[in-house]
């Protein structure tokens, strides 16, 4: 079986939008991290992660997303999540991810927020 998530990325100016599809475990988290670090190296100022096609995560995958968040903060960039299921939203809040990254219901709302002038 292969439940590992697929990750696709689209660049819109200095915002990189990521879509995940599938289970975010260690492999899925690492795939997201690779793409995220690549976009940061290419000058992205904000990353939006749309998880609407991900229904399950595990704490290892989330710990890798936390590493990504730390790297984003080091680069003075911004990370936002959207499209979370209620369970994933709750788990992000339990682990404190929501204290350091913004969570929006939809991609449009996330994009408007990260695109707004500081």
């Amino acid at each position: 079986m292969n439940e590992t998530c697929r990750v696709s990325v689209e660049r819109r100016g200095d915002v990189a939008v990521f879509w995940t599809d599938g289970y975010i475990n260690n492999q899925g988290g690492e795939e997201i991290a690779r793409e995220a670090y690549s976009e940061l190296d290419r000058g992205a100022r904000a990353l939006i992660m749309n998880l609407e096609k991900t229904r399950i995560v595990n704490s290892i995958g989330i710990s890798i997303l936390i590493e990504v968040l730390e790297k984003v903060m080091e680069r003075k960039a911004v990370l936002a999540f959207c499209g979370l299921t209620p369970t994933i939203d709750k788990t992000f809040r339990i682990m404190g991810l929501a204290q350091y990254a913004a969570i929006y219901p939809t991609e449009d709302e996330a994009f408007r927020a990260v695109s707004a002038p500081a």
């Binding site: 475990n25 399950i56 595990n58 710990s63 590493e67 369970t87 709750k90 788990t91 339990i94 404190g96």
Partner: protein, 154 residues
């Protein structure tokens, strides 16, 4: 050092309709187990969000066993039970048992966002997540292995 419980106690719902599954300690086998939780959750008409919470807690219990049990049979044994009355109080209960080396349940340090972000201790969330997502959780561990018994009401 593991606590010296002689053996796991009997499940609280012994005798309830049950489905058993044994999975190997192997990548993504926890997802195989979640399919059973999905089916039994739907069987008792549990809401989608609650089923998702059960599945995530089950994933955490499985990967906890995969990573920490060092079980010699290389297997994790899972039993699903449903019970309660249809009008009120129906539940889905899952027992996750490994025959590994056990751990000191009293010695598990509680994780926190502060430790995660400020001290960069990002792991160790599994049991905390299980307790946060399920309604009742019992964890027993000893030289016989570890048993996590968790229940979610409909």
């Amino acid at each position: 050092m593991a606590q010296r419980d002689p053996a796991p106690s009997q499940p609280t719902a012994a005798g309830a309709p049950a489905v058993s599954l044994t999975i190997p300690v192997a990548p993504e086998m926890e997802i195989v187990a979640t399919a059973q939780a999905d089916a039994l959750g739907e069987y008792i008409d549990m809401g989608r969000d609650k089923i998702d919470e059960v599945k995530l807690a089950l994933v955490e219990a499985c990967i906890n066993a995969f990573e920490h049990s060092h079980t010699e049979d290389n297997q994790v044994h899972i039993t699903f039970r449903v019970g309660g009355r249809r009008e009120a109080g129906e539940w889905l209960e899952i027992e996750v048992l490994d025959r590994g080396r056990g751990f000191d349940t009293a010695g598990v340090e509680s994780p926190s966002p502060q430790k995660t972000f400020e001290e960069r201790r990002r792991r160790g969330w599994g049991l905390h997540i299980i307790k946060s997502l399920m309604d009742e959780v019992q964890i027993e561990s000893g030289e016989w292995g570890t048993r996590i018994l968790m229940r979610k009401y409909k």
